[in-house]
Symmetry: C2
Subunit: 204 residues, 2 copies
Amino acid sequence: MTQYRQTERTRLKRAPKRAHYDTATVNAIIDEALICHLSTVHHGQPLLQPTIHWRDGDQLYVHGSSRNGLFQALLEGAEACLAITLLDGIVFARSAFHHSVNFRSVVIYARARRVDDVDEKRRALDQLLEKFHAGRSQEARPANAAELKATSVLAFTLDELSAKVRSGGPIDDPEDRVLPVWAGVQPVTLQRGEIEYEPPSGEP
Amino acid sequence: MTQYRQTERTRLKRAPKRAHYDTATVNAIIDEALICHLSTVHHGQPLLQPTIHWRDGDQLYVHGSSRNGLFQALLEGAEACLAITLLDGIVFARSAFHHSVNFRSVVIYARARRVDDVDEKRRALDQLLEKFHAGRSQEARPANAAELKATSVLAFTLDELSAKVRSGGPIDDPEDRVLPVWAGVQPVTLQRGEIEYEPPSGEP
């Protein structure tokens, strides 16, 4: 099983049993999630925004307007910290203290590379459409030169990261397990519904 | 309608029509979301982690272990940037370029205050349980002194922030609307399922 390397800042100090560094666990979380949160430091201040991400091998991609301020800070060399989080459930314990949530998350440290190679840029943007809907890159009108130029694609190499996973039921203290209080887990899932199609242009 | 103030860094430069500063829109996003992402700067590096949040008036609360490294950085005075994001749909345009997502997000700048007052701390933690499940704060065994001490509750005043909302269908260029390509929106929703109860202790 291939493992991501651990560094001082990706080593989980608390609940180390919930830490995962194998590529299978990490990549599955990255691929299931549709959005990530991207942060950096700019003029000493934290910047944070949500964005769409996708993955090809060890490359994590995001895209946005070429005028995006956070992207510009990253392209000036500022380090990024990205988080990808899937909420799986609310955990009800018998004690207030042991209430928790089930989740799978990945936190990544990396510096951004701007994707300038037109072939890589087109391939990456096609992969995003495929993540949205299989086959979509063959259906939609491809980006023209002006649209490609207006879009920045940034790549991050997946290398310094950790995943954290909590699953299962509540972990009450032994003396609380006899309390007459219900306990359990409420599953939380992100559902993609039926596509609401627009009528073709010209139809009422 | 009460409005949050705008500052240079909360004024949306692009797509300003998608910006919202009224408390009703902002607070509804904060209250619907179960998790936020919390970032700061520590020794010049970005720190980012997902966490549960809840709100009481203009106070946004998070909690965690008293030994949480990000919390410690915040309590040393580092500024926080928080993002709360709800994904509502995938937007399929006829052109690759105009594919998008529907979402509602809030980005907040604030400094953390550690909640030391025991009454406020207990009230805040009760409010978290109520967010998880109405009535839960009256059911679960309350935190004891050691548990309260092991839990840090941080408060942020909602003041410098912006909400951003995209909704509706694809916005294709006029010349693309006649292309024989389907378009529409796939709704995405976070579903809370049926609670899976644990049997009372002692039962098989």
